[in-house]
């Protein structure tokens, strides 16, 4: 929705640019900010996730299908080799495996420079998620179906499907959220750029291509057995375990393209 406002502004700016097109040479001050593009590929192991009933296997050989995969990426932070960081304000992106347009987004107004690290919250920060639901806009609006109620806030990550290795098959419902101790599931992922540099310049928008591997939700620091995994539908110890798993290994950087 922010995008919509921005596109309105873009049209306005474009119009202004066209109208003022006759007078050349505006002011020549160097722009000091650039844009970083993100592209996320939702995968199960080495395969792109399919929501069509395809069954996948965890490390322990349990099988499952995926019908819904949605999660928030927010609070994006870029860091330099000297330890300095830039935290991009107001970035809340809902990635939905069912909506290709949601898997890429841009972060603008990043100060130019060579960055060596990136991190983001998989979910929504507590200040935002406990705000008045009537004031939640864009990807954060409850209509996106990633929100419980005022008291519990947003669902940070939602995975739904069926466990097919049990007999009978059982529902797989994994809604992770919660911002209050002891069940605070707000986690940060810091996938390594693998030694690559992210060169942010005024006229080059580099792209970070991320892989989001669903298997790491279960095959993480705390391996989770699908056969006994309870429905996660409220803040709990189990949901914090799941969150720590996906923070640790779900997101990897496939490529940094300088463009």
């Amino acid at each position: 929705m922010k995008n919509r406002i921005f596109s309105a502004l873009a049209v306005a700016l474009l119009t202004t640019a066209v109208l003022s097109g006759c007078k050349k040479d505006g002011d020549s001050s160097e722009p000091t900010v650039g844009t970083v593009a993100f592209e996320v590929e939702n995968m199960v192991g080495a395969k792109d996730v399919a929501l069509d009933g395809t069954a996948y296997a965890t490390a322990s050989g349990e099988t499952f299908t995926v019908t819904t995969l949605k999660y928030y990426l927010s609070n994006i932070k870029f860091s330099k080799a000297d330890g300095s960081t830039y935290a991009a304000p107001g970035e809340y992106h809902l990635v939905d495996a069912a909506k290709p347009s949601s898997t890429s987004f841009t972060v603008s107004n990043v100060p130019v420079g060579n960055y060596t690290g990136v991190s983001f919250v998989v979910g929504v920060d507590s200040t935002t998620t406990k705000g008045d639901p009537l004031a939640l806009a864009g990807d954060l609006n409850p209509a996106n179906n990633m929100y419980w109620v005022w008291a519990t806030g947003h669902i940070f990550l939602k995975l739904e499907g069926t466990v097919t290795s049990t007999n009978p098959a059982k529902a797989l419902t994994c809604h992770i959220g919660g911002y209050r101790a002891p069940y605070n599931a707000i986690v940060t992922a810091s996938p390594s750029l693998g030694g690559a540099t992210l060169p942010v310049q005024a006229n080059h928008a580099p792209t970070i291509r991320l892989a989001a591997n669903v298997l790491k939700i279960f095959d993480g620091p705390t391996p989770i057995a699908l056969s006994t995994f309870p429905t996660a539908m409220a803040p709990s110890a189990a949901s914090v375990q799941v969150a720590n798993n996906y923070a640790a290994g779900m997101f990897t950087v496939k490529q940094v393209a300088a463009n």
Partner: protein, 374 residues
């Protein structure tokens, strides 16, 4: 949200100006006909209720007062049916939140459709239109009921020619779109503009959400059940919100389809008829529950006449072995270990229904801006 409304109207004005500019560039193409110089249409001030998402309006069809007014006339224009007896508004009746009270919509030739008329309440937030998401924009969707042989049954080109031959419509198209030459595209754009103004956000529920006051104890309990996921043996709930998501009380914005356990086998393929994917069999959009007291009968085939029957279904009669049944209905067992369904109590059903009744918006069905202008 005055800010959002402002942005939307600003975009509208801007595009209007751009369109006008473009139109003025392509002047002088000697159509021979004397047409008055069009004035730019004025942006329609869309009032988005507090807490609703920012609506997505196609950049090439901004809302204008002239376009919306024209769309309203077309919505009620019977010349757009082959028999001259029906219009969009024949099945989408304002008094019934733009439904018709029938299980299956009946077209100009008296033939029933396989599904029921859907409410147009807040349709501008629908990313998926109709029961199975066969369309994603109002501009493309409206052509189907206009031309479909069991609905209005007339090629739109024929309808457009009828409009063109009137004294009434060419000036209205000129005012709305800068040309008095009526086309399918412009007629569909005007209809879509009108439909996007059908906003309902003044129910008692909305007032309660703004003030947290004004509900009876039963209504509060009903809302609680509506928004609660069952934790078997610990927390009782009715699971409604998973599919009928606030604040629109539908899955239209998210664009998701569900098997809600009506049947074991599917007479209507639902979403799979569009996608061809087996797991989508028997899945339908979860339509809005806003104004639900006005839109009986319920379900895509109108099989339930009352809200009591609907609650009995979800509580007691869901086909638990239906392939692709929604997870929340599979797991939503209030009375373990022996309960096999959601098993709401009679009191709980009454409370949910009491809450659903708060979603009726009397100002929406009385709003003169949406009524038949003829």
């Amino acid at each position: 949200m005055p800010l959002r409304a402002t942005v939307v109207s600003y975009l509208g004005v801007l595009l209007g100006v751009v369109a006008l500019g473009a139109a003025s560039c392509s002047k002088g193409g000697g159509s021979g006909e004397e047409t008055p110089t069009p004035t730019a249409p004025t942006a329609y001030a869309l009032a988005v209720p507090a807490g609703f998402p920012t609506p997505v309006i196609p950049a090439d069809n901004p809302l204008t007062n002239e376009g919306v007014a024209l769309g309203r006339m077309l919505f009620y224009e019977k010349a757009l049916s082959s028999t001259g007896t029906m219009a969009c508004g024949s099945c989408h009746q304002q008094s019934k939140a733009f439904t018709d009270g029938l299980a299956f919509a009946v077209g100009v030739d008296g033939v029933a459709n396989p599904r029921g008329t859907m409410s147009l309440t807040n349709v501008l937030w629908s990313s998926q239109l109709t029961w199975d998401g066969a369309f994603t924009t109002l501009e493309t969707q409206a052509l189907k009921p206009l031309e479909n042989s069991i609905e209005l049954h007339q090629p739109l080109t024929v309808g457009v020619a009828k409009l063109q031959a009137t004294k009434l419509y060419p000036p209205l198209f000129l005012a709305a779109f800068g040309t008095s030459t009526i086309t399918n595209e412009l007629a569909l754009k005007a209809l879509a503009q009108f439909e996007r103004t059908l906003i309902s956000g003044s129910s008692r529920y909305d007032k309660y959400m703004a003030t947290r006051q004004g509900f009876t104890a039963d209504e509060v309990a009903g809302l609680q059940l509506y928004t609660t996921h069952i934790s078997p043996g610990k927390v009782r709930g009715a699971e409604c919100f998973h599919c009928h998501t606030q604040p629109l009380m539908s899955s239209n914005y998210e664009g998701k389809f569900f098997n809600n356990g009506l049947d074991l086998t599917f007479a209507d393929p639902g979403r799979s008829g569009v996608t061809g994917v087996a797991v989508d069999k028997g899945k339908f959009i979860a339509p809005t529950l806003r104004n639900i007291t006005l839109t009986a009968p319920y379900m895509h085939d109108g099989r339930f006449k009352t809200l009591e029957e609907v609650l009995d279904h979800y509580s007691d009669h869901v086909q638990m072995a239906s392939p692709g049944l929604d997870n929340n209905l599979i797991e939503g067992i209030n009375d373990p270990p022996f309960g096999t369904h959601m098993d709401l109590t009679a009191t709980e059903k009454k409370q949910v229904i009491a809450f659903l009744k708060t979603l009726t918006d009397s100002t929406f069905i009385a709003d003169k801006r949406f009524s038949n202008p003829f």
